[in-house]
C-alpha cells in the first residue's frame, strides 16, 4: 500500500528542548490516522514539520512519496491548532482567497465554495463579514477553507478542540465521508475517546517519542487481556462459582470475568454452557486509554501529565 505520509527517524530540537525524538511512522493512503498523546508530546511540532512550516533537524519526511513541494502542498488540506480568519473580510472573499493561494482556479473555487456553504447552511452569510458570524459559524468557514481545494490528504491539528458539540459531530461525519471517498486523514488529538471512534491507524506519542504505532484493531487484539464479556442467564453467585473464574463483576446485564491463570478459554466456555444459557460471549476489547497506559509503562516513560 502506498503511503500518504511517511516519517523516517525525524528529530527536532528547540534549543535544549527535544520536541521530537527519532520519530518514524507511516500513514497509508485512504486511512484515518490518529497522532495521539498528551499535550506537549510533540504532536504539533510533528505536524508542522510535515507541513514544512518547521524543518526537522534530522530525518526525512515524505508526502505522497517525496519531500513536500509546492505541488503536493496544494494537495493537502491543513487545519492548524492556531486557526483563525481575517475578521474584516467577507465570507465569500475570504474563502476565495484561501482557494486562490491553493492555486484553485476561480470558477471551480466559486462553485465548490457555493456547494459547501449550502451544505453547511451558511449561504445567507456569504456576504457578511467574518466578524458578524457566530463562533460556530466561523468554525464551519474554517473547515470549508481546509477542504476547498478538494485535498487528497487532510491534516488536522487538534481538530475537535474548541468545536461546539454540533460542529464536532458534523466534522466527524465529514471525516468519515472523506475516508469513504478514498482520502487520507491525519489528525492529532489529546482526547483518546475521539480517536478511538474514528481511527484506523494510530501513533501514540509521549515525551517527544513514539511509543506505539499500528492498526487500531490489531492493537486492541494484541492488548486484549484475559477478560471476557459474558451475557449469561445466571446470578452473580452462580457465575462466581463457575470453574476457572478468578474474578467477576456484573454490569448492564453482562458479566466481565477474568479467568484464573492457566484456565483454557474453551474449557471454561464449555463448562459454563453445560450449566447456563449463554447469549453472547466475547473477549473484552481494551480501551485505547488502557493500551496507551500499558505502552507508556512498557516504554518505561513515567507518565506525569494527565490525559483528559
Amino acid at each position: 500500500m502506498d503511503s500518504a505520509v511517511e516519517l523516517q527517524d525525524v528529530s527536532k530540537s528547540f534549543g535544549k528542548f527535544r520536541a521530537v525524538d527519532g520519530l518514524s511512522f507511516r500513514v497509508p493512503k485512504g486511512v484515518v490516522f490518529g497522532l495521539l498523546g498528551p499535550n506537549g508530546a510533540g504532536k504539533t511540532t510533528t505536524i508542522r514539520m510535515i507541513m514544512n512550516i518547521t524543518a526537522p533537524d534530522s530525518g526525512q519526511i515524505l508526502v505522497l512519496g517525496r519531500p513536500l513541494d509546492r505541488e503536493t502542498q496544494n494537495r493537502i488540506g491543513y487545519l492548524p491548532e492556531e486557526r483563525g480568519l481575517y475578521r474584516k473580510m467577507k465570507v465569500m472573499d475570504h474563502l476565495m482567497f484561501l482557494a486562490d493561494i491553493k492555486s484553485v482556479d476561480r470558477r471551480t473555487a466559486r462553485q465548490r465554495i457555493g456547494e459547501w456553504l449550502d451544505k453547511m447552511e451558511l449561504r445567507p452569510w456569504l456576504r457578511k463579514k467574518v466578524d458578524e458570524l457566530s463562533k460556530g459559524m466561523q468554525q464551519k468557514v474554517q473547515f470549508i477553507a481546509t477542504i476547498v481545494h478538494d485535498p487528497e490528504i487532510l491534516i488536522l491539528d487538534e481538530v475537535f478542540s474548541g468545536l461546539d458539540p454540533i460542529n464536532a459531530a458534523l466534522v466527524k461525519e465529514y471525516l468519515i465521508d472523506f475516508r469513504k471517498r478514498g482520502k487520507t486523514i491525519l489528525f492529532s488529538t489529546h482526547v483518546l475517546e475521539q480517536a478511538e471512534k474514528l481511527c484506523d491507524e494510530i501513533c501514540l506519542m509521549s515525551k517527544s517519542k513514539k511509543i506505539l504505532e499500528g492498526n487500531l484493531k490489531d492493537l486492541k487484539l494484541r492488548h486484549a487481556g484475559d477478560e471476557l464479556r459474558l451475557a449469561i442467564q445466571a446470578t452473580p453467585a452462580e457465575v462466581a462459582a463457575l470453574p476457572g473464574v478468578h474474578r467477576s463483576s456484573a454490569a448492564n446485564g453482562e458479566f466481565v470475568i477474568s479467568l484464573a491463570p492457566g484456565t483454557d478459554r474453551r474449557d471454561f466456555l464449555r463448562r459454563a454452557l453445560e450449566r447456563h444459557d449463554i447469549r453472547a460471549f466475547s473477549q473484552r476489547e481494551p480501551e485505547l486509554e488502557e493500551i496507551y497506559l500499558a505502552a507508556v509503562r512498557e516504554a518505561g516513560l513515567e507518565e506525569t501529565r494527565t490525559i483528559e
Binding site: 528547540f14 534549543g15 520536541a19 499535550n39 506537549g40 504539533t44 511540532t45 508542522r48 507541513m51 514544512n52 512550516i53 518547521t54 524543518a55 509546492r70 502542498q73 496544494n74 493537502i76 491543513y78 487545519l79 492548524p80 491548532e81 492556531e82 486557526r83 483563525g84 480568519l85 481575517y86 475578521r87 474584516k88 473580510m89 472573499d93 482567497f97 484561501l98 486562490d100 493561494i101 491553493k102 492555486s103 474554517q142 477553507a145
Partner: protein, 441 residues
C-alpha cells in the same frame, strides 16, 4: 517563489484595504487639511488685515506726525498691491504724563483692557541705541510689525538726512531695496525660480515622508493583525513566509500609490489657482518638474518604502499586540522624523558634513538625498554612494526581516526579548521556528 501566490496575497491586501472606509476618509480628508493649512498660511502671511489701534508715546515730540503720514502712505500702497487688503493703523499720540514709567503702566492697563492693541515708545535715548519699543497683546504679527518697523526707520532716516542738510527726497531713494531672486542652474541649462522648485520638492518630500511613516506602520499593523487573528499559520501552509511578506509589502505600497494617484487626479482637475500659480511657468502652463526629479523620486520612493516596510514587518512579527510593538516602532519613526531636524542643514549648507551624513545614511538618505538632488547638484559620487548604500541596506534588511518574520509569525504567548529575536536571524532557511509557546496549552 511563486508569482501566482504572491499575486494572490497582493490582491487580497490591496482590495481589502482600498475597500475600507478609513482609506476613503483619509484620501478625502488629507487634501482638505493640506489645503486648509496652505490657506491659513497664505491668509495669515500675505493678507494681514484689520484695525490696529496703537498709542504712540513720542518722547522726542518730533516723530509722531511724520510717522502717521508714512504709515498712511504705506497702507494705501499695500492696498493697491494686494487687492485692498492691509492693516489699518489708527494712531493716537500720547503725551508723557508724570514720568515715562507711569505712562507706560497706564498704557499697559489699556492694552490689557483691550482699549488699544498696543503702544509704541519712541525714546531718543533708546533710538540712539537703535531700539524702538513696541508693546502689544500680540507680538507675533510679523507682517504688521514689519510694516511699523519700516515706517519708523523711514522717518528716522529722513530726520538724519535733514540733520546733515541733504535733500529730503533722498530718503525714499536710499530706502529702495532689491530682492534677491535665486535661479537654479540645471544641466539642461534651463533656469527656474527657487521658490517654485522648493514648493514642488516639499510636496514630494511630504509624500515620501508620509509613505514611509504611515504605510510603513501599516505593514507592522498588518503583520500583528494576522497573528492576533490566528490566520497566519493557515496561510503559510499554502504560501511561503517570504512570499507572504513580499505580497503584503507590495500590496500596501500599491494602496499608497493609489491614494497619490487619486490626489494627483484631483489636483490636476481642480488645479487650485493659488497652487497652479506657483507651480506653473507662464509659458507652458503646466508644472515644470524635471525628469531627473521624478526619476530620483521613484528610486527613493521604492527603496525607501521597501526599507521601512521591511523594518516595520520585522518589528511586528515577534509581537502579539500593537502595544507590545509600540516601543520598538519608535525607532524607525525617529529616523523618518529626523529629516526635519536635518532640514535646515540640508537647505542652508547642503555640502556640509551633516547634510552629507544625512544623505548617505540609509535610514535618512531617501528623504535627505532626494532633497539635495532636487535643490542642487550634489557631487556625483555622493549620489551614487547614497543609492548603493540604500539599495544594499534595503536588501540586507529585507533579508533579515524575512528571517525574523518566518519565526516570529508562529510565536504566540510571551513577548520575546531582542536577543531572542536576533537569534532567529541566524536560523538556517526553512529551519525556522520554535514551538508556539502555547503548544502545551
Amino acid at each position: 517563489m511563486s508569482g501566482k501566490k504572491i499575486f494572490a496575497v497582493i490582491r487580497r491586501e490591496y482590495i481589502e484595504r482600498v475597500r475600507t472606509k478609513a482609506f476613503w476618509i483619509g484620501t478625502a480628508l488629507i487634501p482638505v487639511f493640506f489645503m486648509a493649512y496652505i490657506g491659513i498660511q497664505v491668509a495669515t502671511s500675505h493678507n494681514a488685515a484689520g484695525n490696529r489701534t496703537v498709542a504712540v508715546v513720542d518722547v522726542s515730540g518730533r516723530l509722531y506726525e511724520p510717522l502717521a503720514r508714512d504709515l498712511a502712505e504705506r497702507e494705501s500702497r499695500a492696498r493697491a498691491e494686494r487687492g485692498g487688503k492691509s492693516v489699518h493703523w489708527i494712531l493716537a499720540p500720547r503725551p508723557v504724563t508724570g514720568d515715562l514709567a507711569a505712562t507706560k503702566e497706564a498704557l499697559r492697563q489699556e492694552v490689557l483692557s483691550k482699549k488699544i492693541d498696543g503702544y509704541l515708545v519712541l525714546d531718543p535715548s533708546l533710538i540712539e541705541k537703535d531700539r524702538i519699543e513696541y508693546y502689544s497683546g500680540n507680538v507675533s504679527e510679523y507682517v504688521a510689525q514689519n510694516q511699523l518697523e519700516r515706517a519708523v526707520n523711514h522717518v528716522l532716516l529722513k530726520e538724519r538726512i535733514e540733520k546733515r542738510g541733504l535733500p529730503a527726497d533722498l530718503s525714499s531713494e536710499l530706502e529702495r531695496h532689491a530682492d534677491l531672486r535665486p535661479f537654479k542652474v540645471t544641466k539642461a541649462g534651463a533656469t527656474e525660480e527657487k521658490g517654485a522648485a522648493l514648493f514642488t520638492v516639499l510636496i514630494f518630500m511630504i509624500i515620501l515622508y508620509t509613505t514611509f511613516l504611515m504605510y510603513g506602520m501599516q505593514n507592522m499593523k498588518g503583520v500583528i493583525d494576522e497573528k492576533t487573528n490566528r490566520i497566519v499559520e493557515v496561510i503559510i501552509a499554502s504560501v511561503r513566509p517570504t512570499e507572504l511578506m513580499i505580497g503584503k509589502i507590495v500590496g500596501i505600497g500599491l494602496v499608497g500609490l493609489t491614494q497619490y494617484l487619486i490626489w494627483s487626479l484631483i489636483a490636476m482637475n481642480l488645479t487650485l489657482p493659488a497652487i497652479a500659480g506657483i507651480l506653473t511657468t507662464p509659458e507652458s502652463g503646466i508644472p515644470q518638474i524635471p525628469i531627473s526629479m521624478i526619476l530620483y523620486f521613484i528610486l527613493f520612493f521604492v527603496f525607501g518604502y521597501f526599507l521601512y516596510a521591511s523594518i516595520y514587518t520585522a518589528i511586528g512579527a515577534p509581537f502579539n499586540t500593537d502595544q507590545e510593538a509600540q516601543q520598538l516602532s519608535m525607532v524607525p519613526m525617529f529616523f523618518i522624523v529626523s529629516v526635519w531636524a536635518f532640514f535646515p542643514s540640508l537647505m542652508n549648507n547642503p555640502n556640509g558634513g551633516v547634510a552629507i551624513f544625512a544623505s548617505l545614511f540609509p535610514l535618512t538618505s531617501p528623504l535627505a538625498m532626494f532633497l539635495r538632488t532636487s535643490m542642487g547638484q550634489p557631487p556625483g559620487w555622493q549620489v551614487a554612494l547614497s543609492i548603493v548604500l540604500l539599495i544594499a541596506s534595503t536588501l540586507l534588511i529585507a533579508w533579515v526581516a524575512g528571517r525574523v518574520y518566518r519565526v516570529g509569525i508562529l510565536m504566540y504567548g510571551k513577548k520575546p526579548t531582542i536577543p531572542e529575536i536576533a537569534r532567529w536571524v541566524r536560523y538556517r532557511p526553512g529551519q525556522a521556528p520554535q514551538p508556539a509557546a502555547r503548544e502545551a496549552s
